[in-house]
């Protein structure tokens, strides 16, 4: 009997979203609610000499004015380095310095003008290379005194993360190479630019000393822990209620609006305070993708097999580390690509600079490193005279290959993604010059992405007397469709109608623990929890049905909320079965916990087991582009994007993720470009920070590849992140194919294209 898994079921959040009824954090109104506004630092680095808030406190409607000294706490999950409001020192332009809560937003904004802050500017470091210098100004002179996790830092410098990994014999590997290719690549800062800005409402309860927040977040329990740890509270003293999330892309995890809202709420005598960033604040002073400079040196044999690779990656965390320590470590590993490289060495360092904070961004480092890996892959292919598709196919991981730490890889569909993208784009033929000023080319790029490991998900499934099913799972709907795929899996695991399943909004006081809706982990982890709880609740229902019907439970089954015998003869509906309890009342509840911690799949070399991933995602994209050699403008004509998702629980939502990732990647690679002068982001508006529109849309062919993974729920792995990473290098490689130029630093702007074309023409005219 067929179920819901594998079907293009309409999203369960459809009707509320097309009717405008979906409620986001920015839509919430509460009785007695005050409005917050933030005075921000105009300096990249300065000492705060004095703050005079007297006039602001006396302004009409103002209920609280709060500075860092009034709320002297630090937060940070890897390094506790960030104040809720600046304390004595500001470290980036836009850092919150003073917060005001007033009766209206306008009153709060007007009060900001009455605050006087005297600063003594300090030498700033805004270039990540200069941040490494011996005499560089220190962004955090007290780095050695902060609480930090187990990772390595270099005290009394700007280096907040240092990570090394080595496998094989690197010298022997290079000695065996017929060709060594070296290159340096860079990836720039990007805004998540979710359409819903960062917003939060916070309320303080003086009797318990706790806070309740209404937030827009993709990781409620991590955000809760971070706030509670920062405030020195037990985590249950901070309660988060999550509304619909109007886009996250990794950007709605660390305290942003939340930090200011909490600081204000502590001083408003119990009145809730709403803090909503303006678009300018959201673009310039929330967080951005960490920029990276990546040096790759790769040895290959004459016939195109890897012998060795060294990677040196420098990451820029901006003023505070937020979630970027993990990026500098985990992200750097994937610079090896989905390829068998017998001898390798990674050195990754991350430095503080006096710039806007950075954070996790769809792909957790893979969007940066894939650019380097895949750009160089084509340089190698060119120098060897090997086809770019062929060199990838012959080096790509296959089922059972060892990963960087010796983990035996499982569920490896990368070869199929390369083949399918190649076929869909019509690799090998292109109309080179459709017009005198136009050139066309095709390019390919692939990528690998692990998932956060180990991690856990818990859920509770509750069947009500009327047969309706609540799946209590703290996996906020950030837009990626997880409510729908979780509901589909629950419906099939239990045997109930999809329409009867609902997933209540997350409330950390009511919803059991879940890891973040990040790292493309929700389908796999929460799916496994749901499959286990669903199977148990189904058994309980069939036992009950057996008692009521006088039949052995083994002779019964249930689909679409109808209990039937093994021949498929319908016997009773779930609702009618449970009606027997109508007098006393009824609900049936089962909880389950799923963790990857003890999976035998994670076995690896001693000491580096932590690098293992419970599953791997792969995405290959082939593009056809057209470049105007007079203007340098690139138009992406076609993208064939093949992603290995394991089993597609819902092919439509998989396509949404693939298409959305391609469009984001195209936008990241070609358009999005912060203009940063002396650490200040100058283009804090959608007019000046261009994001792809529907008019930039190429023809996208989403292709779903379903490799087999034994421990995955219904076989499903994950899909949210991979597509965004492969697009920029696929475009860069198509540009090389079209006109023979390579842009090594993102984004690929018309100016860079024209300059490279001019240099190429000059070089050719000289030779």
């Amino acid at each position: 009997m067929t179920g819901y898994v594998g079907t293009r079921a309409a999203r369960v959040d459809s009707v509320e979203k097309v009717t405008g009824k979906a409620v986001y954090a920015v839509d919430l109104q509460m009785a007695g609610m005050l409005h917050g506004a933030v005075l921000r630092s105009p300096h990249p680095h300065a000492r705060i000499v004095s703050i005079d808030t007297t006039a602001a406190e006396a302004a009409p409607g103002v209920r609280a004015v709060v500075t860092g000294r009034d709320f002297p706490y630090l937060f940070g999950s890897a390094i506790k380095d960030q104040p809720f409001l600046a304390i004595d020192r500001v470290r980036y332009v836009g850092e919150p310095v003073v917060a005001v809560a007033a009766d209206t937003e306008a009153m709060a904004q007007e009060a900001l003008d009455l605050i006087r802050v005297d600063y003594t500017p300090l030498p700033a470091v805004v270039d990540m290379r200069l941040a490494l210098a011996d005499n560089a100004p220190l962004v955090h002179p007290d780095l050695h005194e902060y609480w930090k996790g187990p990772h390595e830092i270099i005290p009394h410098t700007n280096v907040n993360t240092i990570y090394r990994h080595e496998r094989g014999d690197i010298e022997a590997g290079f000695a065996a190479a017929d060709l060594i290719v070296e290159g340096e690549y860079s990836a720039h800062a990007l805004s998540h630019a979710a359409l819903e800005v960062h917003a939060a409402i916070a309320e303080y309860d003086s009797s318990s000393g706790g806070y309740t927040l209404w937030v827009s977040t993709d990781r409620p329990f991590m955000l809760r822990s971070e706030l509670a740890a920062g405030l020195g509270l037990d985590s249950s003293r901070v309660r988060l209620k999550v509304a619909q999330v109007g886009g996250s892309f990794g950007g709605k995890g660390v305290p942003v609006a939340e930090a200011v809202a909490v600081a204000l709420a502590r001083h408003t005598r119990g009145r809730p305070v709403r803090v909503e960033l303006s678009r300018e604040e959201d673009l310039t002073a929330s967080q951005v993708r960490p920029p990276a400079i990546m040096k790759l040196k790769t040895g290959v044999t004459r016939d195109g097999y890897f012998t060795a690779r060294t990677a040196e990656v420098l990451w820029d965390s901006g003023a505070y580390t937020a979630y970027t320590v993990g990026i500098a470590i985990r992200g750097s590993q994937t610079i090896m690509g989905p390829y068998r490289i017998p001898n390798l060495r990674i050195l990754s360092r991350q430095v503080y600079t006096n710039k806007s904070i950075t954070g996790s961004y769809r792909g957790y480092g893979t969007t940066q490193v894939t650019w380097a890996c895949e750009s160089q892959m084509d340089d190698i292919a060119t120098q060897l005279g090997i086809d770019p598709v062929a060199i990838r196919l012959q080096n790509a991981y296959e089922e059972g290959d060892p990963y960087l730490n010796g983990q035996i890889m499982h569920g490896v569909g990368v070869v199929e993604t390369i083949e399918k993208a190649r076929d869909a784009i019509g690799w090998g033929s292109v109309e080179r010059q459709p017009a005198p000023h136009l050139r066309r080319g095709k390019g390919i790029a692939t990528m690998i992405k692990p998932t956060m490991t180990p991690s856990s998900s818990n859920c509770v499934i509750n069947v009500e007397q009327d047969g309706r099913v609540s799946v209590v799972a703290a996996a906020p709907e950030i837009g990626a469709g997880q409510d729908t795929v979780l509901a589909q899996m629950a419906a099939d695991a239990i045997g109930v109608a999809l329409a009867s399943v609902s997933i209540p909004a997350t409330d950390t006081a009511l919803t059991p623990y879940n890891g973040p809706v990040a790292s493309s982990r929700t389908t796999y982890h929460m799916g496994n929890a749901i499959v286990a709880a669903g199977a148990e609740i189904r058994d309980n229902i069939l036992v009950l049905a057996g008692e009521v019907l006088g039949v052995e439970p083994d002779d019964l089954d249930m689909h679409d909320s109808v209990i039937h015998d093994n021949d498929g003869l319908a016997l009773i509906t779930l609702e009618d079965l449970l009606a027997k309890y109508s007098g006393e009342g009824y609900s049936m509840t089962v909880g389950s916990r799923f963790s990857t911690a003890d999976s035998p799949l994670l076995k690896a070399d001693a000491g580096v087991e932590w690098i293992s991933s419970i599953f791997w995602m792969f995405c290959t994209q082939a593009t056809e582009i057209e470049v105007d050699i007079e203007t340098g403008v690139i138009r992406v004509l076609k993208v064939a994007a093949a992603t290995d998702v394991g089993k597609a629980i819902n092919p439509m939502t998989c396509e949404q993720q693939i298409e959305g990732g391609v469009i984001m990647g195209l936008s990241n690679g070609l358009f999005e470009d912060f203009s940063i002068r002396d650490g200040r982001i100058e283009n804090g508006s959608f007019a000046d920070y261009k994001v792809a529109t529907i008019q930039d849309l190429p023809e996208i062919t989403p292709i779903i590849v379903e490799s087999v993974h034994d421990e995955a729920p219904f076989g499903a792995k994950g899909i949210g992140e991979p597509a965004a990473a492969a697009t920029p290098p696929a475009i860069g490689n198509a540009l090389y194919d079209a006109v023979g130029i390579r842009i090594a630093d993102l984004p690929i702007t018309p100016e860079k294209v024209l300059r490279a074309l001019a240099e190429k023409n000059l070089a050719e005219s000289r030779s």
């Binding site: 309409a10 839509d27 359409l195 678009r279 391609v662 469009i663 984001m664 994001v691 792809a692 008019q695």
Partner: protein, 154 residues
């Protein structure tokens, strides 16, 4: 303060408001019609589109006084009787949204574009919807939704 006489989704509202307020602010804060979203507040993203006498306008750029006497339609008015209109239904069928934040603007603009059986070609559709950002990248499925409506009205 000025007195304005607004007609929103066929219902009349007499309000005393500050003249500097935009239609968007009044819709969201005074009338609690939060289906109309704000994402930039300065007319650059298209998220706050409503229909004014049937034409899409960015409500963050329209002063509330200018909406006096104009028939305003917001997303809440499209399925007021509980039944989705054909554009909304097509968005559901094709999955033409992800986070949903741009969806009210997209649905309203597409509804206006396709009224009276209009059959714009794909380039016209892209041009009409080109002023509304969707960071999730639902664009391919939005085009599919519009094509479904055009196909059905043939």
């Amino acid at each position: 303060m000025i007195e304005v006489d607004l007609t929103v989704n066929g219902e009349r509202y007499k309000l005393d408001v500050e003249p500097r307020l935009t239609l968007l602010e009044v819709l969201r804060e005074n009338l609690l019609l939060s289906g109309t979203k704000e994402a930039c507040g300065v007319g650059e993203c298209g998220t706050c589109v409503v229909l004014a006498d049937g034409e899409p306008v960015t409500s963050c750029l329209m002063l509330v006084g200018d909406a006096d006497g104009v028939a305003i339609e917001t997303v809440e008015g499209l399925a007021a009787d509980g039944e989705l209109n054909e554009v909304q239904q097509a968005f559901v069928d094709t999955g033409a949204f992800q986070c949903g934040f741009c969806t009210p603007a997209m649905v309203l603009t597409a509804t206006a574009m396709l009224r009276n059986g209009a059959k714009p070609d794909v380039e016209e559709v892209k041009k009409t919807l080109g002023g509304i950002l969707c960071r999730c990248g639902a664009y391919p499925k939005i085009l599919e939704a519009v094509a479904q409506v055009i196909g059905e009205s043939r």
